[in-house]
């Protein structure tokens, strides 16, 4: 198992490096420039040159990449062009805030998905299956930012039951296990969980339906096992496949949804990225994308390992 983990870790290094090159290049290929958003359009050239020098934007792109990478290796992502703060000091709180939503969204999405998918798979071809499958397709298809706006209109504006935006009523971003924080979480979590719920439902359904038709299930039935025990075997066999999908979904959620976080003014990585994109805040963009990519790589690694534990055949 250790050699398997090491092997996967070695694979992760070129992936992370590739991500840094791609994200660095993409930022430069896009139109616009970081100074357009922070300086008046007719700022004198001498002043623009000074700002460029201060942020190292006057150097050749390869040199900029190398300087950035060498610092990034020691967790120094530079300073935000817009705010002047260290990127890490902006990124870590945002990451924490997105994590709060991601965990909530994943918990709701995975539980709903597992239950609905399990029922749909078990009752394959019957009305329950058709109903849950339709729900899953709806979940995957509905634009979640639209759903977010609809939820706000219904629950915040019309019914005045839940807050429309932010992490707290006062605008603070501190999180505690308080009723106020949970009330602010409800709508973004629900909006965020719809897509993973749909995807997990479909995955679980197809895995369960397929497994229930396999010969070993017939064998278990013929041995006289109860349906509950048979389902336990089926669930264990379905787990690696479902786990892989859940891992990917968790990765997406951890990345923070730009649209959901913008609609709810939730100060996570999605909102951070959104602002950085519009402002061409290159250090923030690069630092955030790299961090999210690394999290994604690590999550995939964790999923691979978990799959290997559940199904030793995968290691071979």
């Amino acid at each position: 198992m250790l050699s398997y983990i090491l092997q996967r870790l070695v694979y992760a290094i070129p992936i992370a490096l590739g991500v840094t090159i791609v994200c660095f290049s993409l930022v430069y290929i896009g139109p616009g420039d970081p100074l357009s958003s922070i300086l008046p359009e007719d700022a004198p050239q001498a002043v623009i040159d000074k700002i460029k020098a201060e942020y190292g934007l006057d150097k050749p792109i390869v040199m900029q990449y190398w300087l950035w990478l060498s610092k990034a290796l020691v967790a120094d992502f530079g300073k935000s062009i817009v705010t002047g703060n260290a990127v890490l000091s902006e990124l870590l709180p945002a990451l924490k805030n997105s994590l709060i939503l991601a965990v909530g969204g994943a918990a709701v999405g995975f539980i709903v998905g597992a239950v609905l998918g399990g029922l749909a798979g078990y009752f394959h071809g019957r009305p329950a299956d058709r109903m849950f499958t339709a729900l899953a397709i709806t979940g995957v298809s509905v634009p979640h930012y639209w759903l977010a706006i609809v939820l706000v209109i219904i629950f915040s504006v019309e019914l005045a039951l839940l807050p429309a935006l932010g992490m707290t009523g006062s605008g603070d971003t501190s999180f505690s296990f308080s009723l106020e924080n949970f009330r602010h979480m409800v709508l973004p979590v629900v909006a965020l969980s719809v897509i993973p719920a749909g995807i997990v439902t479909r995955t679980v359904r197809s895995a369960i339906a397929e497994l229930l038709n396999m010969e070993f299930v017939e064998a278990l039935r013929s041995k006289g096992l109860t349906e509950a025990r048979i389902l336990r075997h089926v669930a264990k066999n379905a787990a690696p496949q479902v786990l892989a999908v859940m891992g990917l979904q968790l990765g997406y959620l951890l990345g923070g949804s730009i649209l959901i976080e913008t609609v709810f003014a939730w100060p996570g990585t999605g909102l951070l990225l959104n602002n950085a994109i519009f402002a061409r805040d290159i250090p923030v963009l690069q630092g955030t994308i790299l961090m999210l990519a690394l999290i994604f790589v690590i999550l995939n690694l964790a999923v691979d390992i978990a799959q290997a534990v559940l199904d030793p055949r995968i290691k071979r």
Partner: protein
């Protein structure tokens, strides 16, 4: 905002028996808490900005940054009178009580400073602070020099070359050439506390507790979430000491989120509600406040050799072919149809002879004279952003204008860009290779027309061709250079206004741009917000606001 904490009654006879002293103490504390909680009124504002503007003096985020960080925490030597909604905001004394041009030297201004003003950290404001703040943005050898601050203000104070102390409350401001615009220019230059900066000699540290002389004092801020301020009770202008106990400014860039926040009671005041939300807001009892202000939504035309816009018949035809009243309906009534570069009724509007309006037959006639017909329309292409500061509803508005012009022998296409890309694009003139390659002959970038430089010089003077200004189209006409030079040398305000009216009349009569509309700066306020006066300005004053209980 009312927050009353309930307290559990103490059972004086039972297990929780308390002495009379304890009871009195608890009662006192409770009364204090209740009184202060009841007394505290908090105004919560939803800004359109995506983040908190830079707070150390010169704000970023355009004029919204000036509005909510600049003029709230800081003062300039000269301020804007934002107390009236019937007339254009005018310059008024700020940290300078008076100013005058030296009668013997037209490159020297004398500013008499206000006495008894203190920064929020308690240090006194004197002439040394003015000199120090000038070095902060102009002297790159000075320890307090801050490159981004310099870049943010450089374009606002182009005439200033030096600032010298004469005595503790008098400074001289020298200019590189004679300029009557100095009072306007210094209104954009904010004074930060020298003494406060000296404690750490770091702008990053200064940003944690910024100190100016403005009517509001900084309390705290959380990036991308909120900034809190409280009244500066020692403010030198007693009439402008804020009436609420606290203001919380929240960046909410998504328009529907701002509306939802107001409707659900999370904020009391929002900037720029979208037109399609107005009826809903009104039906919920919200107040919609609008007013004309110096803004325009217009097309800067390419005037490079070979551009079709060099033909005045084509320019006039485009101006006569837009149904601005129809556009106003599309915008829910939240616009003022353009009659020129400045909004109608502005002090610089004058009396142009070319009357801009919707006259499609006349427009088609002009186009036919210019050699274009329905069968052979003139192909044109304008760069437009998907959103952006002051751009209103750019794409629906463009499509409306496009449909109009295509009825008048034009064939208008869009080069759609994201806002940042468009601002970068507009920094290079019309004959730049990118503009030529894309075939763009006009750009739609909304303009702030607050002062003579922004309104006219920056866009019509031949020395202000992008990137030295915003003359993207490379308009080069001696009449503007001469009139603008005269205006900048006319130190009498009335006479200067007269020259600027002439500039405006000439620009409209020449149909230099295609003017479409003016924004009305809509804001939506909760019914409990009272006392707000929307000035005819990009800047606004939150100090008179009170909150109804």
């Amino acid at each position: 905002m009312r927050r009353i904490k309930s307290t559990r009654a103490i059972n004086a006879t039972g297990k929780g028996r308390a002495s009379i002293g304890q009871l009195l103490a608890v009662a006192g504390v409770t009364a204090g808490l209740t009184t202060s909680a009841v007394a505290e009124s908090v105004l919560r504002v939803g800004m359109t900005a995506a983040d908190i503007p830079v707070n150390i003096g010169q704000p970023d985020q355009g004029f919204e940054g000036f509005r909510f960080m600049g003029y709230m925490l800081y003062d300039a030597l000269v301020l804007w009178d934002l107390s009236k909604d019937k007339e254009s905001a005018k310059l008024v004394p700020g940290l300078a009580e008076s100013w005058e041009i030296d009668p013997k030297n037209d490159k020297r201004w004398i500013f008499k400073l206000r006495k008894g003003v203190t920064f929020h950290d308690g240090s006194p404001f004197t002439a040394d602070d003015v000199v120090w703040n000038f070095a902060k943005v102009k002297d790159d050898k000075a320890p307090q020099y801050e490159a981004k601050q310099a870049a943010l203000v450089a374009v606002r104070i182009p005439a200033l070359s030096a600032v010298n102390k004469i005595d503790d409350y008098t400074v001289e401001i020298l200019t590189s050439k004679p300029s009557a615009y100095v009072p306007y220019q210094v209104s954009f230059w904010f004074m930060s506390s020298q003494e406060h900066w000296q404690k750490t000699k770091s702008w990053a540290e200064f940003a944690k507790s910024p100190s100016g002389t403005g009517p509001w004092k900084f309390v705290s801020q959380t990036q991308r979430a909120k900034v809190e301020m409280v009244p500066n009770k020692a403010y030198w202008n007693k009439a402008r000491i804020p009436k609420v106990d606290r203001v919380i400014l929240r960046p909410i860039p998504e328009a529907s989120a701002r509306v939802a926040a107001l409707l659900s009671g999370q904020v009391d005041f929002i900037e720029a509600p979208p037109p399609d939300s107005i009826d809903r807001l009104k039906s919920a009892g919200m107040k919609i406040i609008t007013n004309a202000y110096p803004h325009n939504w217009a097309v800067t035309l390419s005037r490079i050799p070979g551009s079709p816009w060099n033909d005045i018949r084509v320019r006039k035809a485009a101006n006569l072919c837009i149904d601005r009243e129809g556009l106003n309906k599309l915008l829910g009534g939240l616009s003022i149809p353009a009659k020129g570069h400045m909004p109608p009724g502005d002090a610089w509007f004058g009396k142009p002879t070319f009357e801009i309006g919707y006259k499609p037959d006349e427009a088609r006639k002009l186009m036919t004279e210019a050699g274009f017909t329905a069968a052979k329309p003139l192909p044109i292409k304008w760069a437009i952003s998907t959103s952006g500061s002051g751009q209103m509803q750019p794409l629906p508005m463009f499509e409306f204008v496009q449909a109009n012009l295509n009825e008048c022998h034009f064939k208008l296409e869009a080069e759609v860009m994201e806002w940042n890309a468009l601002t970068a694009f507009s920094r290079k003139p019309a004959d730049d290779k990118e503009a030529v390659a894309k075939g763009v002959d006009g750009i739609i970038v909304s303009r702030a027309l607050q002062d003579p430089y922004s309104a006219f010089e920056r866009v019509f003077h031949s020395a202000r061709i992008s990137p030295a200004g915003s003359n993207w189209g490379k308009l080069k006409l001696p009449v503007y250079d001469e009139l603008l030079a005269k205006a900048s040398l006319t130190f009498d305000k009335e006479l200067q206004d007269e020259v600027l009216r002439k500039v405006h009349e000439t620009a409209v009569d020449n149909a230099e741009w295609v003017w479409v509309t003016h924004d009305v700066n809509p804001r939506a306020l909760s019914p409990k917000v009272e006392g707000f006066v929307q000035a005819k300005s990009w800047f606004q004053d939150l100090t008179p606001i009170t909150l109804k209980k």
